[in-house]
């Protein structure tokens, strides 16, 4: 994957380089962040992060409580409680494992628990395919979780550090789930720069739960039962926290750049060859690789295509994205997910993109939705060319189906 983070200054301490997967990179970030409590439960493809954590603990490189729970529900409950008691925590799952934890996942943001979790995106059962689909992580999109998609092991490591910084910011205290495409990111080893502990310490302050800390010296009750007199105000608090998250994310990335010397530009989405593009494609995760390769190919043929890779799905930078997309004649959204029965039967991301554009005061280009790459099927360069051809038709005002399935046998 072409690194989007550019080295902007040389540092005196030379960072280590390691050949590691996206999962392993996040485990390394946990080590650097000095995470206190980690709970594990096996499910592929995320579980390699926990295997690597276990190895770091066994080798004496990391000191944390490592607990293997009896299921994902307990797994997420344990770290939620540990976080309420002031521990920096890490957790994770994939596919239906993540779904098994759903009760715990709903109460975590409600209680303002700054958990950082890794989702090794995996197709939901049934059928029990191991390959990538984004529906698992997306299932919590309304509940107050921050959701971010990364596409390289370097980005996974960097984003994990940023996730702790943002989640544990007292103004925020919302959990963050980092999504890594199963197999393509969880199991591919690439060369990653591992920052020095010194830099991480400068970037990441200790977790301070302040007056919300569950401790005998701080007599509070957490999660009493509520009724209709209380719920709206409680939800309104989370709404405000998520509103504040946009700004805190921007601050964190700016500080990251300053300390680590790697710039990600706009934190919320990456723009690739969009400066003079007629049409753009939009998607999340590792489909960026075949898309970028296809775009270079089409550019050589004279087609001015660009790509917007969404990183942060929650909070969704709607105004910024609408402003960006208004520059183009048509947009093709590639959904590595599905949403049966949704408007126009489109995927989740295309629905959000259209929602972002609807109130925009600027231009609102046609937006087509493409469902591709489900269950680990690759999104290929010819697939991307086919998608782009349809988007070009829409740009020229020719009617195109609002939702198309790409790469299915029919």
């Amino acid at each position: 994957m072409v690194p989007v983070a550019i080295e902007i200054e040389k540092h005196q301490k030379i960072d280590e380089t390691a050949l590691i997967t996206g999962s392993e990179a996040i485990a390394v970030a946990c080590k650097l962040a000095d995470v206190d409590v980690i709970t594990a439960y096996p499910i592929r493809p995320y579980d390699t992060v926990m295997q690597y954590v276990a190895k770091l603990v066994a080798d004496g490189e990391m000191d944390c409580e490592y607990i293997v729970a009896e299921g994902e529900h307990s797994q997420f409950e344990i770290v939620k409680h540990a976080s309420a008691c002031g521990a920096r925590v890490f957790c994770g799952s994939s596919g239906v494992g993540w779904m098994y934890a759903m009760e715990a996942l709903t109460v975590t943001p409600a209680l303002r628990i700054p958990m950082v979790a890794m989702v090794g995106n995996r197709a939901l059962d049934d059928p029990g395919a191991f390959g990538v689909e984004h529906n698992d992580a997306l299932a919590v999109r309304d509940l107050g979780w921050q959701l971010v998609w990364v596409d390289s092991p370097q980005e996974a490591l960097d984003t994990a550090l940023i996730a702790y910084r943002v989640a544990e910011d007292r103004r925020i205290f919302l959990p963050c789930a980092i999504s890594c495409d199963g197999a393509f990111l969880t199991h591919s080893q690439a060369l990653v720069k591992i920052p020095s502990q010194e830099k991480v310490n400068e970037f990441l302050p200790p977790y301070n739960r302040a007056e919300l800390l569950l401790h005998p010296d701080n007599p509070i009750t957490v999660a009493p039962q509520g009724n209709e007199d209380w719920v709206m105000e409680i939800r309104r608090q989370n709404y405000a926290a998520m509103e504040r998250t946009y700004g805190v994310i921007k601050e964190a990335y700016a500080d990251f750049e300053r300390i680590f010397g790697r710039s990600y530009g706009n934190p919320f989405f990456e723009e690739y060859m969009t400066e003079d593009a007629d049409v753009v494609l939009l998607g999340m995760g590792t489909l960026s690789t075949p898309v970028k390769v296809a775009i270079r190919k089409m550019r050589a043929e004279g087609k001015k295509v660009g790509f917007v890779r969404l990183r942060w799905f929650r909070p969704f930078a709607a105004e910024e994205l609408a402003k960006c997309l208004g520059r183009f004649s048509a947009v093709g959204v590639i959904d590595r997910d599905y949403s049966f029965g949704s408007p126009y039967l489109g995927g989740v991301v295309v629905g959000e993109v259209r929602q972002a554009l609807y109130p925009s005061p600027g231009k609102r280009p046609p937006v087509l939705g493409f469902i591709a790459g489900l269950g680990g099927r690759e999104v290929t360069v010819p697939d991307v060319e086919k998608i782009t051809a349809s988007v070009y038709q829409a740009a020229q005002g020719k009617p195109q189906p609002l939702t198309q399935w790409i790469g299915v046998r029919e």
């Binding site: 994957m1 072409v2 690194p3 380089t17 050949l19 997967t21 592929r44 493809p45 579980d47 390699t48 295997q51 049934d126 059928p127 191991f130 390959g131 197999a183 393509f184 199991h187 591919s188 080893q189 690439a190 060369l191 690789t289 075949p290 970028k292 390769v293 296809a294 270079r296 680990g376 690759e378 290929t380 360069v381 299915v408 046998r409 029919e410």
Partner: protein, 390 residues
């Protein structure tokens, strides 16, 4: 665009998982010594895989990040410079759960690419086992006993570094033997391993394989159904019950051969197969009973024939058979087809007896995995000795 290199390592699941990973990682690291960028991964790296099932690891290396990205656009590369088969029986063709149909071992090789096989066999035997390829390719044999480990216990018999040395000889643009030795010293801090790599570098020779050489059979393929041709509700039809089959000499029909999955040719998981002595069999039924995959056909006269379309070579039958040398596991390289042993025996019992004795006498033992303490301490010196022979 810069230079792009791709190497695949075809291996036996579980037993050679760590070996394949060590090799693909070391390829990326050795190339990185010379300023190249690379990615190492398995084809749907499973945790864990299935015992013995063919699986692949890949190392994709490029002179720059953009070219590397071009090389990663298709997750499994369309073509490779080098295919490494760390078990010679893989040369018969591979079917993993990760893809469908039997794949020739040399399928992904670029014209003029090289297949490196760890084996004690001669080139003619390896070429005979491999499917014909429309374009010429090269074959290099890394002499030695095939290396099988346990999942958690690695058998450090130098197969990994010898293969790296061979790669540096075959593809010097990728990395030099010096870079290999640097990585070996960084990772393993073992000068003897570094020396093994250098020896392999010096000794690697290749033979060119022509399009008219090899197994002429067309490998099995089939069409996957379209979405509207499939049943709803993630349901599939059961395999119908089997029935009797014909005796080749009397033509009477009897016994029981279960119907089996017509599309998954499980036999490519096999590295050894049971050879059955029908003359000494006492019909205790234990082999048939204990076979985990119901591979035994019950013959019309109540004997048990291991069906070679289905057998995946686990060796349980040999372990449970109470009669000495009635069921013997023999290296898969000794056989050239899946024909029925019982039919062969029915056709000519005396000839079969001779054939059987020839197969089981002096057969090389194939062991899988980690079975007892001290096993590797016994096996490694022997394997290093074999590697030193010329």
């Amino acid at each position: 665009m810069g230079q792009l290199f791709a190497i695949e390592i075809i291996y036996r699941g579980i037993f050679q998982k760590t070996l394949a990973k060590n090799i693909s990682r070391a390829i990326v690291l050795a190339a990185h010594e010379e300023g190249k960028r690379g990615i190492s991964f398995g084809r749907y790296g499973d945790s864990p895989e299935r015992n013995g099932i063919p699986a692949k690891s890949f190392a994709i290396v490029a002179t720059d990040d953009v070219t590397l990205e071009e090389g990663m656009a298709k997750y499994e590369p369309k073509e490779v410079d080098i295919t490494i088969a760390v078990d010679d029986t893989l040369c018969k063709g591979v079917e993993s759960w990760a893809w469908y149909g039997l794949q020739p071992v040399n399928r992904l090789l670029k014209p003029g690419g090289t297949l490196i096989v760890t084996s004690r066999e001669q080139p003619e035997a390896i070429i005979g086992m491999s499917h014909r390829k429309a374009t010429p390719y090269n074959l290099a044999i890394l002499k030695g006993t095939v290396s099988f480990s346990g999942l958690w216990v690695y058998k450090d018999d130098h197969t990994d570094v010898r293969l790296l040395g061979a790669i540096s000889r075959i593809l010097p643009d990728l990395f030099s033997v010096k870079s290999v030795q640097k990585v070996i010293m960084d990772q393993w801090k073992d000068p003897i391993k570094a020396a093994s790599a250098a020896k392999a570098y010096e000794r690697t020779t290749t033979t060119t394989v022509r399009p008219d050489q090899g197994n002429p059979e067309t490998p099995y393929t089939f069409e996957l159904p379209k979405w509207h041709e499939m049943r709803d509700g993630v349901t599939i039809p059961g395999i119908p019950a089997g029935g009797g089959f014909e005796d080749p000499t009397t033509h009477a029909v009897g016994g029981f051969r279960p119907d089996r999955n017509p599309t998954f040719k499980k036999f490519s998981t096999r590295t050894m197969r049971p050879v059955v002595n029908f003359d000494t069999c006492i019909k205790c039924t234990l082999c048939w009973l204990h076979c985990p995959d119901s591979c035994f056909d019950v013959t019309p006269e109540g004997l048990y024939d291991a069906n070679m379309q289905a057998c995946c070579g686990c060796g349980v039958c040999e372990a449970v058979c109470p009669v000495k040398e009635c069921v013997t596991m023999v290296n898969e390289t000794e056989f050239s087809d899946n024909s029925s042993q019982w039919e062969m025996w029915r056709g000519d019992k005396k000839e079969y007896g001779k054939w059987l004795q020839e197969k089981i006498a002096g057969h090389t033992e194939r062991t899988h995995g980690f079975r007892y303490r001290g096993q590797y301490e016994e096996q490694i010196p022997e394997m290093l000795e074999t590697a030193r022979e010329d």
